[in-house]
Amino acid sequence: MLKTLKMMFALRKAYKSNSILYVLRQLPLIKKILPTALSQSKVLNVIVTIIFAIWEIGAIFIGKIIYYFGAIGYLRTLSDNLSNEVLFCQSLLLLTAIGLFMNVSFLDYRKDKVYAINIFKLNAKEYTIIDFGYSLVKIIVGTLPIAIFMGLAWGLPLWFLIAIPFCVAFGKFIYASYVLSTYERTGVVTYAGKSLLSWFGAIALGFAAFLMPVFEYGLPKEICMAGLLLLIPVGLICSVKVFTYKNYLKINKSMLSQMDIVMKKARKRQDNQVADSISADAIETSNKKGFEFFNELFVKRHKKLLWKPAINLTIVMLAMAVIANVLFAFLGGREICARIIDQMIPYFSFVVFTLNRGGAYTKALFLNCDHSMLTFSFYKKRNNVLKLFVIRLREIVKVNLLPAFAMGLLLAFLVYLPGDPEALKKSLLVLFVIMAESILFSVHYLVLYYLLQPYNVNTEVRSVPYMIAFGASYILIYILMFQRIPLETFGFSCLGFCAVYTVIASLLIYRFAPQTFKLKN
């Protein structure tokens, strides 16, 4: 058992350390000062071990902080009348219920697991139980201080707060035993959070957690507490199955081969998706010349990938606007709805970012166009790079602006519901903000693509600076989602930021794109 535990940690550390070293080797400046034989450098190994330890420990607490202070803290802001205790217990029960089938680290796929089982031939039962046990220990260690800190401030009894991490951890045995029983019956390994049904369940519970405080409805706290505490005995009963199960090697092999097939299929589907997105006929043509001709044909032959989803989204948004209009004509609650939307405008930045077609557009640009064209020297000439950038920017802005306009109209309508002059001003601002954000994200995608060209010649994304820049944008917009900023302040700041960013990005493109926009090996 101890040997398996040691091996598990050694493998995790080796796998994550190599990932850290790989990332460090990709960073400009840092890669120059790192020695070539990285894995043989003792000093570097110590540094990487420290980073690994911080990573492991940090991951235990950061997730829980976001969970308690971010999610439950956010739900608190939605209700004026529910007491802290009721809101805490109700939210925790509903969110824990989601976690019971969406977030269970039992027989989940990881690369270090492949090495442990397939190559190092570790005892599958010991390895699976230790790996699962480690995930439960992390839940308990991470949850305990945060639940106590927040729960005491919200007026809950200490004994219950101490029990919470154990309720959550023991609850995970229920899904684990379900996975084993299902495998015995069907020979198929199920994964937490992979089935459509589990997603529907999670969305339904998530909506319940969100809407109940909005409509000031609270479950009795005693029922919520009992529900959570019940997880301990039920989990204990289910744990018998986990500890006595015999075919861990077989189920692990099945899981790994199942996932290999799924991943290969997903990769193939992803590659084909872009390659197949070229319209099969050559009827569509263009009367333009030069780069305008080139671009117009690209867009026309990629309608399926670019315009079709944009038009579908526009239709959905407009339909929602009409439905909302009809609903509010007959139902009350206009002020509440307008208030919610008013407060949630930063949240829609994330929605606009997520719906932006910039990612699909730049991917198609590289795979179906630039990957080949960048081998021709005329294509890499400064003037040609800049000329095509401007044309492409115009195009991607157009594609994204249509659904953004529809979404802006929908939100503007919801903000305008009270019908006073102030509401009219606000609704116009909402419309402009959503459209400006759409332009900003279109610029952002294309600028990152030109400045940090993320693909290598084998069409794989291997640029760490690109991943960092993109990840940072994602996190920033995600954080923005939880900010409660008055609409006027947010709106005007956002419009200003969009203008400044676009100007700076254009200057950067003019200065650097001819050097950075090229094939990488």
Partner: protein, 235 residues
């Protein structure tokens, strides 16, 4: 005109792939670049084509005693895997290429005349390039590079995967266009190199070295090349 390479080095971390190459390529000749796997042939091409920054050294043209830096228009680069924009038809691709480069193309011909010159059939000219065969894509890629009329043509194993008919056509095209330019052709196929190239150059320990044919027949010449490559392995 000569392509002059002086002290060209390229390192990947501490590994020296190109070690201070000093060499000069002459106009009107096809050079066969041979080397074992991993010798650095593609790295050499990427450095010349400026796709990769060099660690040290210079690459320039020398004409009438004057040195001049290589401009993008001076270089044509044909890869073993043909790369053409698959969303265009052959005709559209040529139209686009001719419009962008019309100011520097001498004796501009019609699109069909260009297709005829590389034997691309009429019924294929308006097909999307994604439906072209490997050989047809390769011909088109070569055609574009021929029209651009670069002073230096780099070919990275371009004939390796072609059928014998297309390979023969391509060889003839290369012979036809060699006057007035420098052609450097990397390949693993010894017969092809000996048959097509005027000079054989080995990329050897990170340096370029001409294999002198002297009075040897083709068989003797091939044996000498293999001996030189083996020497690299034994070194």
């Amino acid at each position: 005109m000569r392509l002059v390479i002086e002290g060209l080095t390229k390192n990947f971390d501490k590994k020296e792939v190109l070690r201070g190459i000093n060499f000069s390529f002459e106009e009107g000749k096809i050079y066969g670049l041979l080397g074992r796997n991993g010798a650095g042939k593609t790295t050499f091409f990427n450095c010349v084509n400026k796709d990769m920054p060099v660690t040290g050294g210079t690459i320039s043209f020398e004409e009438d005693g004057m040195k001049k830096e290589l401009e993008p228009d001076d270089i044509g680069y044909v890869l073993s895997v043909p790369t053409v924009p698959e969303f265009l038809t052959g005709r559209e691709f040529l139209k686009f290429f001719l419009e962008i480069n019309k100011d520097r193309i001498e004796n501009l011909k019609t699109i069909d005349e260009y297709f005829d010159s590389v034997s691309i059939l009429e019924e294929d000219r308006d097909k999307l390039l994604k439906d072209y065969s490997h050989g047809m894509k390769n011909k088109l890629q070569m055609l574009v590079n021929i029209i651009a009329n670069p002073k230096l043509l780099l070919l990275d194993e371009p004939l390796t995967t072609l059928d014998v008919v297309v390979a023969e056509e391509m060889k003839q095209i290369l012979r036809d266009i060699k006057p007035g330019r420098i052609t450097i052709f990397s390949t693993h196929i010894m017969d092809l190199a000996v048959d097509l190239c005027d000079e054989i150059v080995l990329l050897h320990h990170g340096e370029l070295e001409v294999v002198d044919k002297e009075n040897l027949d083709d068989k003797g010449f091939k044996e000498r090349i293999i001996a030189a490559l083996k020497e690299e392995q034994d070194a």
